[in-house]
Symmetry: C2
Subunit: 462 residues, 2 copies
């Protein structure tokens, strides 16, 4: 326990955070931050399209359908609209279901999933310019990631699913900003969010993970709406003696919430993933795709593959035996085999079908257990391939695509978007949607774009 009665712990932190959100103006947000915010929403929209037909999302949709009041808000990739709370829940679940959404360096929060669906849903229910939407979204991501910084790394290590637990605060302030709430009400929104902050790492790999992420978005939105209706919260929901920071962290560092606030923007530390699998696999896949692109490469001549990388690579992804797409997302053996065979590593390559493809299975068996090289950084890896004729090929990746050092290019982001849409929502023509999202900052009424995310009503998705 940090602090005691005689030494107040970060007294007034929550109110100052609320005041920052209240007084922030879009003009104060630097251009690179604005541009990154657009990309984050673009990327998240794509992962939502990709996830929109996943079984977890469809089952959650079915369970929530009887409790949606009216049809104001779009569920991305679905013809049927829902109320704003339900749409926020389902879009958050879909954005994050493959863990293919953005990742904040340091906390590993996926911040767009809990925050973007809230501002998108609100924008459909009241006139909201693209700039207003991006501004509220940026503030939400900022608050979620800064609270995450203050409780990391112990919070996630202990078992909190940080995307959900911290995401709800971001969702709450983003909604509060779009609703134009006052400082007190923003503080109450944080308080109502603190009463609902939840999510366990134990649920990862199961559909209940999406229950937590959806709940973060929905809970954040209703927290702000409650505050708007006068539901008062405590003055110190974050820093109080029984507030979020002390309860949900063994060593909270509240100073990380305020240091550089409004100057250093956390959204610039979010990364977009090129491949729908654990980030530790990014450099491995990069190396395999580079190997496959060499002249005269022939996958069926491979005798053995050795992967060397950071200790975390082995800890997280040394998994020779896989039976489902979900497991394949954390299998170096599968990632190597499928990317060497197909020259591609998209959603299809991490599906159940790809796992059971006899060719993939055959090559997967030739990939040795991961070898540790303590000097290799987590964004680097080495892949050595020995062929049947005795020749060999070694490819090293120093900074994987999608890392802070080598972010995905705009064209790669656009390709990812299109591929995800084809995968999850093949009946939707996405070119107009992609164009509109890419120019979001210039849109007069951002809610209008959501019609482009709905396939024709003939498609049944449940």
């Amino acid at each position: 326990m940090t602090g005691d009665v005689s030494q107040p712990f970060a007294a007034g932190l929550s109110r100052r955070l609320a005041a920052f959100v209240h007084r922030s103006r879009w003009e104060d947000v630097p251009e690179p931050v604005r541009a990154h915010a657009m990309r984050a929403i673009f990327n998240g929209f794509g992962t939502a399209l990709g996830g929109s037909s996943d079984q977890a999302v469809l089952r959650l949709t079915k369970s929530l359908a009887p409790f949606s009041a009216g049809e104001n808000a779009t569920v991305i990739g679905h013809a049927q609209r829902r109320d704003a709370l339900t749409a926020a829940f389902l879009n958050a679940a879909a954005m994050n279901v493959f863990d293919f959404d953005d990742t904040h360096a340091g906390t590993i929060i996926h911040p767009t999933a809990p925050v973007a669906p809230v501002v998108l849903a609100l924008a459909e229910t009241r006139p909201t310019s693209g700039a207003e939407l991006l501004h509220a979204f940026t503030l939400g991501v900022e608050v979620a990631c800064r609270i995450g910084n203050a409780v990391s790394p112990g919070h996630y290590d202990r078992g909190w699913h940080i995307t959900s637990t911290c995401g709800i605060f971001g969702a709450a302030v983003a909604a509060a900003k779009l609703l134009k709430l006052g400082e007190n009400e923003i503080l109450w929104a944080l308080g109502n969010a603190s009463a609902q902050a939840s999510g366990l790492v134990e649920t990862l790999g199961f559909m209940a993970k999406s229950t937590g992420v959806g709940n973060a978005a929905r809970g954040g939105l209703i927290s702000a709406l409650m505050a708007q209706c006068g539901v008062e919260g405590p003055p110190q929901p974050l820093e109080g003696p029984r507030g979020f920071l002390k309860v949900c962290s063994d060593h909270p560092r509240p100073e990380l919430i305020e240091g550089g606030l409004g100057r250093d923007w956390e959204i610039l530390r979010t990364m977009f993933k090129p491949y729908p699998c654990g980030v530790v696999l990014n450099p491995v896949i990069d190396a395999c795709l580079a190997a496959r692109a060499t002249p005269n490469f022939s996958a069926n001549q491979i005798a053995e593959v050795v992967v060397r990388g950071a200790p975390l690579l082995k800890a997280r992804a040394d998994r020779p035996e896989v039976t489902t797409g979900r497991e394949a997302q954390v299998s170096a053996q599968h990632a190597v085999a499928v990317s060497l065979l197909r020259g591609h590593a998209g959603a299809e390559e991490f599906s159940d079908a790809a796992v059971n493809d006899p060719l993939v299975r055959g090559l997967r068996a030739k990939v040795r257990p991961v070898e540790i090289d303590a000097n290799t950084a987590v964004e680097a890896a080495h892949v050595s391939i020995r062929f049947a004729d005795g020749s060999s090929l070694v490819v090293s990746e120093k900074a994987a695509t999608g890392s802070l050092a080598r972010p995905m290019s705009d064209s790669a982001l656009r390709e990812k978007f299109a591929a995800l849409a084809r995968y999850g929502c093949p009946t939707l023509g996405v070119a107009p949607l992609a164009r509109t999202l890419w120019t979001l900052a210039d849109q007069k009424n951002s809610g209008d774009l959501m019609v482009l995310a709905r396939p024709s009503s003939g498609v049944v998705r449940e």
Copy 2:
């Protein structure tokens, strides 16, 4: 951290708990447990009537109104019906808003608030006998309190609002039982609940407390409905390495969840409060009411009052200065003054109006700071009154009304119910409702009773 990979921690606990809920039959539940379950719902229904017009409940009602799909379920004391999720939320908030609902000895969970509203709402949407409803409710209370036992006392001490965090599991299994889910689905309901378990002590004393309690009921209900739709959870939501017990407790005792399960029923350890204030004040009020009932007692002749009691009494309720009803709930000085003056200690006596009554204020100033007697148990207290003529009166209470040793009588419970209804919902004639609840076990279709909890539609409560 308890346990490691080589020593599995309570492996299979969640599944065995689900199996217990699944196979439990009403015939297996002993008659005293059944009778206590009825009293718990009766008492909770009364506190919901009392809380139904509280500002926190009204503001929450307003915020949720646009998101209620249809009118299937009754909000106790309100004319307007809502959907089952919304009604569960609001009834849980109302039951607990004054902390006048039941308390489980040991954990201080208020178990009826998160659980009963869920079974009441479901009973309005499908035929449910009174016995079925009581059975599901009893199982829900059992699960909530046993999980609470396993994380107590550290969980609450650290800052978890245990009524909400553990209540959601009870709500989930109660709903799952009424929905007749299978063992797997009950396990998934626990998993979906684990992803949403939340609530902070920091919110106590503020409306956001009710956000957490309402969310526990709503979250439990939707967790079961999600499980019914196939939303799968992890196999070990409670005992897993990143499951609820290890994440939300520094020293979990999983054995307390299973020991005596199905034989020793936790609901028998729940207490009904006679007065709408902190339980530590119960013996003080008992003593004051006994003093006032002595012949020739005259409150306006009092010169000074001294209260002696357990250390916890002083720690929690030595509060001479109070300005609101909410503060008065934890003020020994107020409790003494108002009960000596009025011979009664109901909701009216802990209202803002009572706090500002000049007579109460005058006598409150004559009540000395609480004195500690380390040998006095928390359910006991001594009140010494010195009169202007030099005479004095000492009353000692050994076991307060409402303690396990001296539970409230049936007639006292009925009086409490009627008084709360008059206080919170004066236009409702409650005699038929009270009669029906008291014979709940014999009702063929328990959902029918909810019509008796709705005042005529002319009353506007928002």
